[in-house]
């Protein structure tokens, strides 16, 4: 009897222990499973991101890549990436990547568009060794240089800053404020066909001035007038019929411009010894986008060589420039910057894209404050519309940029 009782007792205890043990094991397993599921989620997400990286790299190397689907097997998972051109005219591309791991799928979708130089508030291929961005400098939009970015004290960059060279600090106390992000190792060449593409567009549906050494062009709202010497009579034309597609080009000539721009235009000039665009006076929009946010006025200035603020009477007390400026081989500069009188400030609304940084004035330091002694000080503001739109036929970077990333 006692033996049976003991047996029952042992069996009873064993049963209780087995049930409790199973329960504990189950809970432990559930805890581990919980993290295993999180791991699977993360892994599938990373696989999807890898798919995007693999294909965007191909697009960056070959912008003409045809729409297609790629399938990859990677790290015990699978990746399926589909490239679709969603807007043929604007060349907007969409990439959808689905990463799958252990039965869990994750999707990432990105949108790419051709990148235009007009999106930059400031772009230079090279930076002068003795020019520093300092506390008084504020850049309101994206900035890129293929050279070194030299900073002293606390310059403020509101847009994203990208560099191919390094960030050089004047001293250890230099604290540049990169409020829009900062990235190194990015190289963007100024293409050699930016100006010629504009010329081709002007030939096809705009207007090309030929066989002139200098073209004087004044925007007057709905109309444009031009002449070929400072004393000749003006020829007046209706802007919309003169250059229907907005491209105006001076072939092998210098172009001198000013006036009130109504509409979307890009003007340009080429030539070996010419190819400069001179700003003879204010160039401004009919509707300032800072006052009229829906303004459609948009101006591009494209020069094979330099874009120069003329040393003349109208420019001796400030100059307004509302445009995105592109100099393929030269720079944006002021004529006679070392000898001209103190001329106020350059009120630029737009961006400056130049091969090399050019001078617009000289200053000296008095009591710790910079004082202009020749030429201009700078008041540059970025035109935010250039983040999504460009003046007609403004040079592109020949590359795509990602404008949207869903994950």
């Amino acid at each position: 009897m006692g033996g049976k009782g003991a047996l029952l007792l042992v069996l009873g205890f064993s049963l209780i222990f087995m049930v409790a043990g199973r329960n504990f094991n189950s809970m432990s397993t559930a805890t581990v499973e919980n993290f295993a599921n999180y791991y699977n989620d993360q892994k599938s997400h990373h696989l999807a991101a890898s798919g995007i990286n693999l294909v965007t790299n191909q697009i960056f190397l070959n912008g003409a890549l045809a729409d297609q689907t790629w399938n990859y097997s990677f790290d015990n998972g699978t990746i399926r990436v589909t490239l679709t051109t969603v807007n043929t005219f604007q060349q907007i591309k969409e990439l959808v990547s689905v990463g799958t791991f252990a039965g869990v799928s994750s999707t990432i979708k990105v949108v790419l568009k051709p990148s235009s130089f007009s999106k930059y508030a400031y772009f230079s291929h090279t930076e002068s060794a003795n020019i520093w961005w300092t506390t008084t400098d504020t850049v309101w939009g994206p900035l890129h240089t293929n050279g070194q970015l030299r900073v002293a004290d606390r310059p403020v960059f509101y847009g994203k800053v990208t560099l191919d060279g390094s960030l050089v600090k004047y001293s250890n106390s230099a604290k540049p404020q990169f409020l829009g992000g900062f990235q190194t190792g990015v190289h963007i060449d100024i293409p050699s066909n930016g100006v010629s593409n504009l010329k081709a567009a002007a030939t096809a549906g705009g207007y090309v001035f030929t066989n002139q050494s200098t073209v004087y062009l004044e925007f007057r709202g709905d109309s444009i007038r031009y002449r070929f010497s400072p004393t000749a009579a003006w020829t007046n034309v209706l802007a919309s019929t003169f250059a229907p597609n907005g491209a105006i080009f001076a072939e092998n000539a210098n172009l001198r411009i000013k006036g009130r721009v109504n509409g979307r235009f890009t003007v340009g000039a080429d030539g070996t010894s010419r190819g400069n665009v001179y700003l003879d006076d204010d160039l401004f929009y009919n509707q300032d986008p800072r006052i009229y946010p829906n303004s459609t006025d948009m101006m591009g200035i494209v020069a094979k060589n330099n874009i120069i603020i003329t040393d003349n009477t109208p420019n001796n007390s400030n100059i307004i420039v509302q445009a995105s400026i592109y100099s393929e081989n030269g720079s944006f500069q002021a004529e006679n910057y070392q000898n001209r009188p103190v001329a106020g400030a350059i009120y630029l609304l737009g961006g400056v894209i130049q091969n090399a940084r050019g001078p617009v004035g000289e200053f000296k330091t008095v009591g710790g404050t910079s004082v202009i002694v020749n030429g201009f000080s700078k008041r540059y503001r970025y035109d935010d519309r250039f983040m999504v739109a460009s003046p007609p036929f403004f040079p592109g970077t020949n590359a795509f940029e990602i404008v949207s990333w869903f994950e």
Binding site: A20, N23, F24, M27, S28, A30, T31, N34, F35, N37, Y38, D41, K109, V111, K119, P142, Y158, G159, K160, K175, P176, Q177, F178, L179, G180, G181, F182, Q183, D384, M387, V388, E401, I402, V403, S404, W405, F406, E407
Partner: protein
Amino acid sequence: MGFGALLDILGSTIIGGMLLMILLRMNDAAVKNNYDYSGERIVQQNLVEVVKLLEYDFRKIGYCANWNIFPNPALGIIRADSNRIEFITDLSTSANPFGDGVLDTLKYYLGTTLELSVTPNPNDRLLYRVVNSTTPMGSNLGITQFKLTYFDANGDRITSMPTSPPLGIAAIQIDIAVENPAAYGNDYAADKRVIWRQVRLPARNFTLR
């Protein structure tokens, strides 16, 4: 009944009592372990759920299906402090899994301990998720800490945030601690707490352009 039988009864009583004591203690231990294990599982699951939700939403900071209407994603974070963040995004819906192209604002913040005075845990708080200007939605997942630390592009901790975007945030450190809202024996010691830390870019969109 002789002395021997008396000894048998006494001995069996003692042994039986000891067995009973062992059984009771074992039961108590089993109950405690059961509570601890299940509590730990709940805490772990709560943590993973919170983390998944945060990662899902934070990945979309500055995102909009119609990218033209929000061309500068660096302006995506509107307000940020140590336990609160508000940002612009485009929330997915069942009809529009990639967003509807209309900008939304999303806000996360941590409530006070007074709001959860009914739970035995004196430290847990509600984590609120507010979409646009709708009524704040809080969930009690046993969160006792939701701390956000921000770093600029130089890698320095941001101690003084600009009043308006862009706020210059290049990286966010998220610290979360989760405890059992009703632990066995009201034991909320540090070793019962589950913590999670992630240093992340705000979002891929944030530094695209």
